[in-house]
Amino acid sequence: MQIECEKEALLEISQAALRVVSPRANTPALGGVRVTAGEDGLELAASDLETFITVKGDCSVIEEGSVVIPGRLFGEILRSLPSGRVVLSGGESGARIEGGRAEFQVSTFPVADFARPPSGDVGEPCRVDATDLARALRQVGRAASSDEGRPVLTGVLWVIDGDTLRVVATDSYRLAIAEVVAKEGPREGQAIIPNRALTEFGRHLVTAGSDEVAEIRLGQSQAVLSVGRVQLVTRLIEGEFPNWRRLLPDVQRNRLEVDKEEFGAAVARVGLVAQANTPVKFHLGKEVQLTAAESGVAEAAETVEGAEYTGEPMVTAFNPRFFSDGLEGVEGKRAVLDLTEPTKPATLKGEDQPNFTYLVMPVRLPS
């Protein structure tokens, strides 16, 4: 194969592929990037066994074919080259990269050894607005767990329910639910997709144009996610996701309404004195006050302006990080926190914003 293209363009798509390459690949070919020149231009592919990504790009194809190049080295070479034209050529016996006055010879891996995407029937795509999906994934991503001990929680649950696509994540301390409109496609379906793959997919959603559409295909054991010229095929996480509907409180009698930015800043300020995972107390009554203390080291208190509380006076407490993660998901100026009692989950939402719900468990205060 042989191609010719602009360095910047090749670098950009190669970086997207390289982010997926397994850092601990145990067969050399898995640490590689497959470069394919075909009728419809250039395609780069990479895999970490869980996720298989392909990114398409433009180039002039001089000779069709594929090579598998060691990924990290390929990335470093491209970064180091001067701007301008790059020529990549090669086959099973090796590849040659030329740019400016530099020239690299790199040995390649057999194309046949390269990872294959998870296969299986995935059916019709569900089409959603890319920007909207980017928003939803950003809102729930932080609530997903990174604890491999409970694999189900390291994923995000996708539920297609009529014309709504819902994404749900929880690490058992908080639960985030975001919705987007499913424009076309199947009216039902469900899958748990690894959050790591979604983080990568999210990057491409964010850079997509405002009128672009993302396509989601949910299969039995894998999902295919596409936007623009990027396609991710990822295996699904098996297991039963917690019954999130049952966790949502029915009636919550107490309500705190706040200015999102101001309240978020106050939580962050007061939270400065709280050691990792120690709580910020919410004193809710006529006045709304936040306090935190690191015993014997520091204390902080702040009465929050513009916070309105209606309901029974109470003191409750939250891990400031968990609370802030939820608040950041709120769009618009005002946020609403509904509470039942200090030991029950609180629900955080944006005012008049039905497509995002964030349930957060309080920290129990010593009696």
Partner: protein, 398 residues
């Protein structure tokens, strides 16, 4: 005891724990035939000195650092033994582990003595004197060694107190009794006063610590330089040096080798819960928590496996620790053929320690009552002993 009594006792939270005639005692434990005889451990060659002497030998005037030849003259019936350090080190480690059960702040001074700051363990002990007695008792039962303990407001005073508590005693210096305790003692008892300094002090007419305390600090400073200023503080019973652990304990754990290998799931899980509970109790007693739960499993053929998981939030509760340990164990056992699931030893430990209690972050979809219940459990155990209360599931086998 009224709360104010307890508060007053907590003004003396520093322990100096010192094993009595350590090397000689270890030798006696190795060879019980030596019990009651004057045992002298030291270099037995011509220029050797005594490193440790049993109290029986001390009655003949034998002292540490005395030339062995002189000790032989004083105590011809003595049993003279060359020191064997591996045995002393092994015992010393055992004792230090016991110290660490009592406090996270343990500063060893040598193989046979250490400072403990009990303030990190306020939830575990009603007061320091009680802890000191329990420590002494625990060391005796676990190792057969006699410990003397000084309990005082600071390091200097507690070290003096343990010296005066010997042999086989506990001496408490209350914060309001410091002067009374200190003033009559000879100046040689002050930390850092050797022969040279003693000569200078005698010239100034200072014989007791009380004399030093009454002496204007300028005079001491003129005679002894900056050393004098420090001595003036000590003479007043003031010492603000902290107990500095040589290294922070990396983990808190408990393990058990079963008398018969366990294969019944209920027995195995029961044992796991018991161990989790023991670890949790120790963590909470010291007011600390950790983020990594580790499981150790030894099979009948002595193959030993470890599995661990790191959590997002610290834990210090039995249910939290048990939940993780159980998942680790179940996953481990699944990887073994059904015929090979007998267990000889189980261990649970919590690492990645933090110097604060776990915040009681509640969990969606789980019973929330346990955290508070476990704190109540600690209180009952403090008053009535380890076995007073436990989890319902633990009672099945006993």
């Amino acid at each position: 005891m009224t709360p104010s009594d307890a508060e007053r006792l907590w003004l003396s939270p520093i322990l100096h724990a010192d094993l009595d005639a350590f090397y000689a005692s270890v030798e006696t434990l190795k060879d019980p035939g030596l019990r009651g005889r004057p045992v002298i451990v030291g270099g037995t060659s011509g220029r050797g000195v005594v490193t440790s002497a049993s109290y029986e030998a001390r009655r003949f005037g034998v002292r540490s650092a005395m030339p062995t030849a002189q000790a032989r003259k004083l105590c011809p019936s003595g049993v003279f033994i060359q020191p064997s350090f591996p045995a002393y080190i092994a015992k010393s480690i055992q004792v230090k582990e016991i110290f660490e059960e009592f406090s996270v702040a343990v500063e060893p001074l040598s193989l046979d003595e250490a400072f403990l700051d009990l303030r990190t363990a306020r939830r575990l002990w009603s007061d320091p004197p009680t802890a000191a007695e329990a420590l002494k008792d625990r060391v005796m039962r676990a190792t057969g060694l006699v410990l003397s303990v000084g309990v005082a407001p600071n390091k200097f005073l507690s070290k003096l107190a343990s010296r005066m508590a010997k042999p086989d005693g506990v001496l408490v210096v209350g914060a309001d009794r410091v002067d009374e305790f200190l003033r009559p003692l000879p100046v040689g008892h002050l930390w850092g006063v050797g022969e040279q300094t003693e000569v200078v002090m005698r010239r100034l007419g200072l014989r007791t610590i009380g004399d030093v305390a009454a002496c204007p600090p300028e005079i001491l400073e003129r005679a002894l330089g900056s050393h004098g200023a420090g001595l003036a503080q000590l003479a007043l019973g003031r010492d603000d040096r902290k107990v500095v652990p040589d290294q922070v304990a990396r983990s808190v754990g408990a393990e058990e080798t079963f008398q018969r290998d366990l294969s019944e799931p209920t027995q195995i899980l029961g044992a796991l819960l018991k161990l989790s509970d023991r670890v949790a109790s120790r963590l909470r007693g010291q007011g600390i928590s950790g983020r990594t739960v580790s499981l150790k499993v030894r099979m009948p053929n002595f193959e030993t496996f470890s599995r661990s998981r790191t959590l997002k939030c610290e834990v210090d509760g039995a249910t939290g620790i048990y939940g993780v340990a159980r998942e680790l164990l179940e996953k481990f056992l699944e990887s073994k053929p059904p015929g090979n699931r007998k267990i000889r030893l189980l261990g649970v430990s919590v690492g990645n320690l933090c110097r604060w209690p776990a915040s009681d972050q509640m969990i969606l979809d789980r019973r929330p009552e346990w955290g508070a219940a476990e704190v109540a459990l600690d209180r009952v155990r403090l008053r009535f002993g380890e076995d007073a209360l436990g989890f319902g599931a633990l009672l099945e086998d006993g």
